[in-house]
Symmetry: C2
C-alpha cells in the first residue's frame, strides 16, 4: 500500500461538512483514495511539501466539449467586433471534426485534457456534439471515453446543415441509429434546448429516448434567452441544466424544489458578451449551483476554472466559498457522484496545491496561473 | 557577436509600421537587439523553433507597484462581499512595507518580477508609494531600481495616517526631503489626484517639484469618479495619466490634443467592481492608449497582461489589434521609450512566443496561460 502525504498545508479545504477548512494540516492519500487528514508532520512513503500554502479539492468540470477539430478564432474576433453569437456557429466545427481522423481527434482532446489538468481540473465530463452524424458522434464518444468515465452523447447539439428544415428527421436519427451507436460509450445524454437549436417537444423526445437507453439526463438551456429548458430538465429529472443565464421566477422555483443542479458557465457569458446569470438570486432561493468551463471552440475556449471563479464572484455575486464549492462539490453533484469534489476519507485523492495562502487568491489574482501542483488519484499530474 | 534566431514563426507581430504582421518569419536578435526579420529558415548560433506559432513583442507594463509587503486578501474578500473600494486601503500595505527589511522587500518584488516575466512582460515600470516616509520611500525606489530603469517616485500615493488632517504638511515633505531622497533613484514622479488622495492644487505642487528635480511626470487620475487628474496631466505635459475610468468630453478633448498617453488599467476596474472606461470613445477621438496591469495588493493583484487584454476587448470594446498594441507599443509610449514595444531592427530583443497560432487567442482563451517562452534582451527568461 503506497501513501502520499501532502504535508505542511497552511489551509486545507476539505468540502467535508464535519471538517470544513483545516489549518496546518496534512492530507494522506493511500492507493488513490484519501485515507486521513492529520496535523502537519504526518508520515508517508512519499511527501509533498505544500510550503504552508492552500490545498483544495481538484476542480470537477461537469461541462466540456473537448472533442473537436478546427479553430474559430476568426468568428470570435468578429463577435468581439460586434457580430452576435448564434448557435449555428457549431456547424463550422462540425465540418472540421467530421474531416478529422480518430487519431487527430484523440491527440487534440488529449492535449486539452492535459491543459485542464495543469489548471487543476482533476475530473471532467466530455460531450460529443460536433459530429452530428452517426459515425462521427460514435467516434467522438469513443475518444471521450478514453479520457473520462463521464461521457455525454450530445447528438442534439444543433441541427446539422444537411437536415436544414428537417429538424424532426434529425431528431429521429438522434433518437434512433445515433443513440444506438453512442449509448454503449456514454453515461449521459444531453440536448441543447434553445431557439435555433431544439424546441421543447424535440428536446423531450431526445431525453426520453436517452433515458430508455439507460443514460442519465443533462440539458443545455436558457443560454440566449428565457425558454423551456430549465423546466423541462426539472420535469425529466435531469442531473443538471447548464447555462441558466436567463432564469425566470418559475425556473428558480422549479430548480429549488428539485434534485437538478443549475450549472453556470460564466466564461461563456464572457466570451459571448451575454449578461451574467443572477446566481445570487438562485442560490438564495435554494438552487444547487455548479460552475463549469464549457470548454469549446465557439463560445468558451478556456480550461481555466480559476477564470470562471473570478467571474462568478465579480459578476455573479457569489462568495468565494460558494464559487469554490460550486466548482468542486457542485460539479460532482451535477454528475451525481460522491467520490469526488471533496477530500473526506474514502474520496478520490484529487487535490490541487495552490501557489497562494488562500483559495481567495484564485479571484484576488485574476489571470495568474496559481496551480502549483495537481494531484489526481494520489499521483502528481499535469 | 552572438545571434539568436526565433525561427518558424507562423505569425510575427512587429508593431513596425513598415512591416506590420509577417507570416512564416524568423526573428534574428544579435547582442540583445533585433537585427533582422527574415523568412523562416534563417541561420544563427542559437535557434528557437516557434513551431508555427505566433510571436509578439514583449509586453511593456507601464504601471506597477511591485514593491510592497503584506497581504490584502481579506480586504478583497470584503469588497467582493459588498464593501466599497477606498484609496485609504493603501495604508494597510504601508504598515507592512515600513516593517519589512530591504532584503524582504527585494525578495518579494523580485518574485513578482519573475512572475510577470513568465507572463510575457519583458519591461515594466515600478512605483514606490507604500512607504510614505522618507526612509521607506527611498528604500522602495532603491529596490525598484534593481529591477528596472523606469522607477517612479510615488510619495504622493495617499496621505499617511500620521498626517491625517495635515495633508499640506505631507505634501511639503513629499516635495522636500522625500523627493530629495528618492529622485537620485527614480526617473519619474507620480501623484494620485483623486478624492481621498490629493486634490488638484496639491497634485500640481508635487508634479512641479518633481519636474524641478529632473523627473518626468505621471498621474493617477479619474479612477473613482470624474476629476481634475486628466486635465492636470495634460496641462503639465505628463507622459501618461493612468486609470481614466471616468472620462468627460473635456478630458478626451484635452488628451486627444496632447502627447499624454491614457493608460487604462482594466484589471483594477475588474477587482474594484468599477465600470470599465469607454476606451472606444477615447480612441475614436484620437487619444493614444496604453494598457497596464497596475499590479498592486489592493486594487489589482495581477501580473497577467493577457487578462487585461481580455477585459479591454470584451468590456472596453477595443479590437484585439488595438489591445495588443496598447499593451506593447502603447506602454512604451507611456514611458516615452522607443527601444521597446516593437520588433523593428535596433529595438531591444524582447519577444514572446505564444502557445497559439494568433495573438487573438490571448482573448479567445481567457485565463489560459499562453506564454510558451519569454525572450528578454535576446535571452530566454521566465
Amino acid at each position: 500500500m503506497s501513501a502520499l502525504v501532502i504535508d505542511n498545508i497552511g489551509l486545507l479545504v476539505t468540502n467535508d461538512p464535519e471538517r470544513g477548512q483545516v489549518r496546518d494540516a496534512a492530507l494522506v492519500i493511500e492507493d488513490g483514495r484519501v485515507s486521513a487528514i492529520e496535523r502537519t508532520g504526518a508520515a508517508g512513503d512519499e511527501r509533498l511539501d505544500a510550503g504552508g500554502r492552500c490545498v483544495i479539492p481538484g476542480f470537477v468540470d461537469s461541462h466540456t466539449h473537448l472533442v473537436f477539430a478546427g479553430d474559430r478564432g476568426d468568428e470570435f474576433a468578429a463577435r468581439m467586433a460586434g457580430a452576435p453569437y448564434a448557435a449555428g456557429g457549431i456547424r463550422v466545427t462540425t465540418e472540421a471534426t467530421r474531416a478529422a481522423s480518430r487519431e487527430q481527434l484523440r491527440e487534440l482532446a488529449a492535449a486539452r485534457r492535459a491543459e485542464a489538468l495543469r489548471a487543476g481540473i482533476t475530473h471532467l465530463e466530455i460531450k460529443s456534439g460536433y459530429g452530428l452524424d452517426v459515425d462521427t458522434e460514435r467516434r467522438s464518444c469513443e475518444v471521450a471515453a478514453e479520457l473520462t468515465d463521464d461521457v455525454t452523447f450530445l447528438g442534439a447539439h444543433v441541427v446539422p446543415a444537411e437536415y436544414e428544415g428537417r429538424a424532426g428527421d434529425y431528431v429521429d436519427l438522434v433518437c434512433g441509429d445515433m443513440l444506438a451507436a453512442c449509448a454503449p460509450h456514454a453515461k449521459w445524454i444531453d440536448v441543447f434546448c434553445e431557439e435555433g437549436a431544439f424546441d421543447e417537444e424535440q428536446s423531450r423526445r431526445v431525453l426520453a429516448a436517452g433515458r430508455d437507453a439507460g443514460l442519465g439526463l443533462r440539458v443545455h438551456g436558457n443560454q440566449l434567452g428565457p425558454g423551456p429548458g430549465v423546466r423541462l430538465a426539472v420535469e425529466m429529472g435531469a442531473a443538471s441544466v447548464d447555462h441558466c443565464t436567463y432564469l425566470e421566477d418559475a425556473d428558480i422555483d422549479a430548480l429549488a424544489g428539485s434534485d437538478t443542479v443549475a450549472t453556470f458557465l460564466p466564461a461563456t457569458d464572457f466570451s459571448t458578451r451575454q449578461p451574467y446569470p443572477d446566481a445570487r438570486r438562485a442560490i438564495d432561493a435554494g438552487v444547487a449551483p455548479a460552475i463549469a468551463t464549457n470548454c469549446n471552440p465557439g463560445s468558451s475556449y478556456t480550461t481555466s476554472m480559476a477564470f470562471c471563479l473570478a467571474l462568478a464572484v465579480r459578476d455573479m455575486h457569489m462568495t468565494m466559498e460558494e464559487a469554490l464549492t460550486a466548482a468542486t462539490l457542485g460539479g460532482a453533484r451535477a454528475l451525481r457522484r460522491d467520490d469526488i469534489g471533496h477530500l473526506s476519507p474514502g474520496a478520490r485523492g484529487d487535490a490541487v496545491v495552490l501557489d497562494a495562502p488562500s483559495y481567495s487568491h484564485l479571484v484576488y489574482r485574476p489571470g495568474v496561473p496559481l496551480v502549483a501542483a495537481t494531484i489526481a488519484g494520489g499521483s502528481a499530474a499535469g
